[in-house]
Symmetry: C2
Subunit: 416 residues, 2 copies
């Protein structure tokens, strides 16, 4: 990551000096292993084994933190820099999502600036867009594809008919997924990002108090039926303010209308849509990860610092951020997709229909198809509007039916 | 337009004060007719019949210019404000495209700031994205749908099979096109916008020295054949730097691969894609016109002024802007689409084929179809890569063939 930034300075340094009015000088660096083979030559810079030594106001104006992790060295370094009045540029979504409020206060107290464009959607300047470009608007909704790894896997399943495991394996082989892919495919990375966007858009401190589901339960069967029903399956981060002022913030795989632009965002791309009361919908799409896009975003923050632009960390001073009341998950209304595998026997359908009737959930579409390989049957249904609570009640009823063979798969249909 | 801005302040004033750290006060206003019926009550503000009276540094920090027009009152007001050190926020693309260089110098001399987010693509913060979000990148290409009226007409022709005249009539009836639609449909408005983006991206003063074609010559036949060939027709503003450092800046209707995101941008929406050397491609889409989106962009500029952000007018100081050598239009290479109506006679095809052979243009696809209504024949062809000069030579040869019945229609196939 640090080498990407050095590459930007090496290639575009003169242009950046024209644009920012300042020359950038790398003074001192630190990393886990000084002698690791690197793309950039770092021998000209002062080296510290202890990253905390970088936070020396006699030597540096800005610390760039590209370590990662919500706690540990990254957080220690951020606290050290900001408390001494040294501005901090970071790509660390976990740290900002978990400790952004504290760090914003530290920055304000010392007169430092905290910037994190690279923390959300990589090279896409979505932090700037929300904080500045759309600053005249009351934003009531944001949603987006915020994790390129998960989108790559879902797109591969879509395009090739691959199973989840095969697609994950290919993503790992191609370097799109890490050996331990859980942050990406379990939705945690998306949750970090949407919680930061929530803070920027709605004036609340970032909070990780939200329901998070990933994409491990999605099968090639779901991909195929979703397509048949006119949808694509996308892992979305969603944050919206309900009519009564509550925050509905969540991460899960959704069925998205196949005609929507967002459902056509393929591969490792990211895309985010924001709705403002004056601007209407505004969508931005690009590369959400990788050394080049990350360095582009980190350098953009450094250029803004050089230009003297000192916006508040989260759109407004930390003292003005107010936690929002959360929407109780069970009360959220929506339409749902359910896939069941059931034994091909008389009476199963009656049990399923009873469960739906008893919980007051009405079915919009039903597809029943016998599997070739055994004598089980796939039942795919989409519901009319109902609440999450009723849907959960239906699912636990389904689960208790002996002839429902696997754990039911439920996905939300997200109108965007 | 002014009323849109007053509506933003009335609805979101408190939120904007939190975000910007300043209260905004409207002090004095001017317009052509004081007593015209308006959506906003302006009776509380000091009125001037003469807009130049607004430029009074004793009374105002910023003048907002929403008059329009490259010259005249708008330019007089801009010069008056900026020369007195009063910052200017404007939505006036014509004025910035024609006089941006002079106004940027005026602003720098007096210490004022000139901002024009609303001048390009309405509510979409593309000026900020290029100037700031992508500031670390050497941008080598930008292209976009920058005129909602033209895109609305093309989308309507696409969706309904309407002729150009019918689609224009509907656009006028619905308020998407003005009574005199020439700026929109002849590409001039798009040219203003792309010339501003060129300046921001490539460090040149804005220049209107570029080839401009609009959409009047596009027929429902072209729309249908383009679709058959796997394309959509879009009016694009394009600006790119060639490998040898020349500026290729132009506005015309193009055939765009139907699978590209840009070709799916329908109705009155705008979308712009920029390619940077580190960020890769980045696309932003939203509403390019209307009172709400325009007010959103104007207010965003005002908020940045309130926050004290003082970036250069065109990404870098005016003294550093350098005109770029222009690509000679004839040398530009590309693929082309041509539609001819010819008499259904022996020998016509031989004449056409000779013209193509003599000029060294080779055909990639050819569709010949007899019209039901008369005994003429449509010949639709796409070419392999050739130069614009050769293509123009072919067209003038076609034009001289007696049995070529109408002026040939030529469109460029734009790889994006």
């Amino acid at each position: 990551m640090g080498c990407g930034l050095l590459a930007v300075l090496a290639k575009n340094g003169a242009l950046i000096a024209d644009r920012s009015g300042r020359d950038f000088q790398v003074v001192t660096v630190s990393a886990r292993d000084k002698n690791r083979e690197r793309e950039a030559d770092i021998s000209a810079y002062e080296w510290h084994d202890d990253p905390l030594q970088l936070a020396d106001p006699q030597k540096v104006d800005v610390v760039v933190e590209l370590i990662g992790g919500a706690e540990g060295t990254a957080l220690d370094l951020a606290r050290a820099a900001l408390s001494k009045g040294i501005s901090l540029v970071t790509a660390n979504k976990a740290m900002i999502a978990h400790h952004g409020d504290e760090l914003a206060r530290l920055a304000e107290q010392s007169g430092a600036v905290l910037r994190f464009e690279a923390a959300v959607a990589g090279g896409i300047p979505i932090v700037k867009t929300v904080k500045e470009g759309l600053a005249a608007n009351r934003i009531d909704r944001m949603h987006g594809i915020l994790n390129g790894t998960a989108n790559f896997i879902l797109t591969l399943m879509e395009d090739s008919g691959a199973s989840f495991d095969d697609a994950l394996g290919q993503a790992q082989a191609l370097g799109y997924a890490e050996a331990d892919p859980s942050f990406d495919i379990d939705g945690v990375d998306t949750a970090h990002k949407i919680s930061i966007l929530t803070s920027l858009a709605f004036g609340a401190p970032p909070s990780m108090d939200l329901p998070i589901e990933g994409i491990r339960a999605i099968t090639d069967i779901d991909i195929a039926y979703a397509r048949e029903l006119g949808f694509r399956i996308k892992l979305l981060g969603i944050a919206r303010i309900t009519d009564d002022g509550k925050l509905d913030q969540r991460v899960h795989a959704c069925l998205v209308d196949a005609n929507e632009t967002l459902s056509k965002v393929g591969g490792a791309a990211n895309a985010i849509e924001a709705h403002g009361d004056f601007v209407g919908p505004c969508m931005i799409e690009g590369l959400g990860a990788g050394a080049g896009p990350t360095a582009s975003a980190v350098m953009a923050d450094l250029i803004e610092l050089a230009r003297g632009n000192r916006n508040s960390t989260f759109s407004m001073p930390a003292s003005k951020l107010k936690p929002l009341p959360l929407l109780e998950t069970g009360t959220r209304r929506g339409e749902f997709y359910v896939r069941l595998r059931v034994a091909d026997k008389a009476g199963v359908m009656a049990e399923i229909a009873s469960a739906l009737r008893d919980e007051g959930v009405s079915v919009e579409r039903l597809i029943q198809r016998t599997r070739a390989s055994d004598d089980s049957v796939h039942l795919i249904m989409t519901t009319h509007q109902t609440t999450e609570a009723r849907m959960q009640a239906v699912l636990s009823r389904f689960h208790k039916i002996d002839d429902v063979l696997d754990t039911p798969c439920m996905l939300r249909i997200e109108p965007i």
